[in-house]
């Protein structure tokens, strides 16, 4: 199974940086996310996670370091969290960590909503 590596670029700040590693199960999404046709960007990420869960079947860790995501992106992130919750309910080992800016209370509210809507536990860590 191939890794996903998408580098950020100053010319396209609306795309986040993505690193999904199939050898460790560590997945990271960082930066900002407010591109057009959000679902086209996130579909390969969701597909990758589903394939990892069904074929590799090891522990998976999602680290989110998004300082901004638009509401379309929140829908896609919620889809990923729901997929991980299903895996956890089936016995899979899942860890989700959200790194946040301590001066950004709106983002903490957003993470609480993600927890409530997906049912998965999200660890909050301060961005350093």
């Amino acid at each position: 199974m191939e890794n996903i590596s998408i580098k950020s670029s100053p010319e396209t700040p609306y795309f986040p940086e993505v690193n999904f590693d199939s050898s460790t199960g560590i997945c990271e999404i960082a930066g900002e996310s407010y591109m057009e046709e959000t679902y086209k960007f996130y579909l390969p990420l969701t597909t990758w996670i589903k394939e990892y869960i069904s074929t590799i079947k090891k522990s998976i860790e999602l680290n989110i370091k998004l300082i901004y995501l638009n509401t379309s992106s929140t829908k896609c992130i919620l889809d990923i969290l729901e997929t991980l919750k299903d895996y956890e309910d089936d016995g899979g080992q899942v860890r989700v960590v959200w790194y946040y800016d301590k001066e950004d209370p709106d983002m903490i509210d957003e993470v609480e909503d993600f927890e409530a809507e997906s049912g998965i536990k999200i660890e909050l860590h301060e961005l350093v």
Binding site: P13, Y14, N70, T71, S72, K75, D113
Partner: protein, 167 residues
């Protein structure tokens, strides 16, 4: 202080432009830490609403639909106002006005609940989450100002204004 127009634009809302304008919004308001993040986030939501839903649009490569509309960012003594305007179908205008009224009648907790329900039930894909307006009002903590002006038998011009307090 006189009111000061910080940004004014009319045309297609390409993501490349939205991104550059968004960067300007951040720099113009950087001295107001409370308003700065909120303004950028509200700006992106409302600008992308125009881009996704305006009935006046460009087709790029016969595929991507880029909405045409207007935006204005104005600085006042104690707050900023951000306004977008775009064409809507007259048949949709009542639904949109009802939606604005519902949002304005809801308190923060009700808006949060509405946002959660809407996001869970939205079809996703090209329709997005359809919670941009709710998010904008939740962030600003001020009522939405709106106006729908009939253009002809088929279309109306929808104007939305969000107020963001400086402190």
């Amino acid at each position: 202080m006189n009111i000061k127009t910080l940004l004014s634009y009319r045309g297609p809302f390409y993501i490349e432009l939205i991104s550059v304008f968004g960067s300007n919004v951040r720099s113009y308001t950087s001295e107001y830490s409370n308003a700065n993040k909120k303004l950028f986030r509200i700006f992106i939501e409302l600008a992308q609403n125009v881009s996704y839903y305006s009935e006046d649009f460009h087709l790029v490569n016969n595929e991507s639909r880029i909405g045409v509309g207007e935006l204005d960012l104005v600085e006042h003594e104690s707050h900023f106002t951000f306004t977008t305007k775009n064409l809507v179908k007259k048949s949709d205008s009542k639904i949109l006005i009802d939606r604005c009224n519902l949002i304005n009648q809801s308190d923060q907790m009700e808006l949060r609940q509405l946002k959660r329900e809407q996001r869970l039930n939205s079809p996703g894909e090209k329709f997005g989450a359809r919670i941009g307006l709710i998010q904008a009002v939740m962030l600003s903590q001020n009522k939405l100002q709106y106006n729908c002006e009939e253009i002809n038998n088929e279309f109306a011009y929808l104007s939305l204004t969000v107020r963001i307090d400086k402190n």
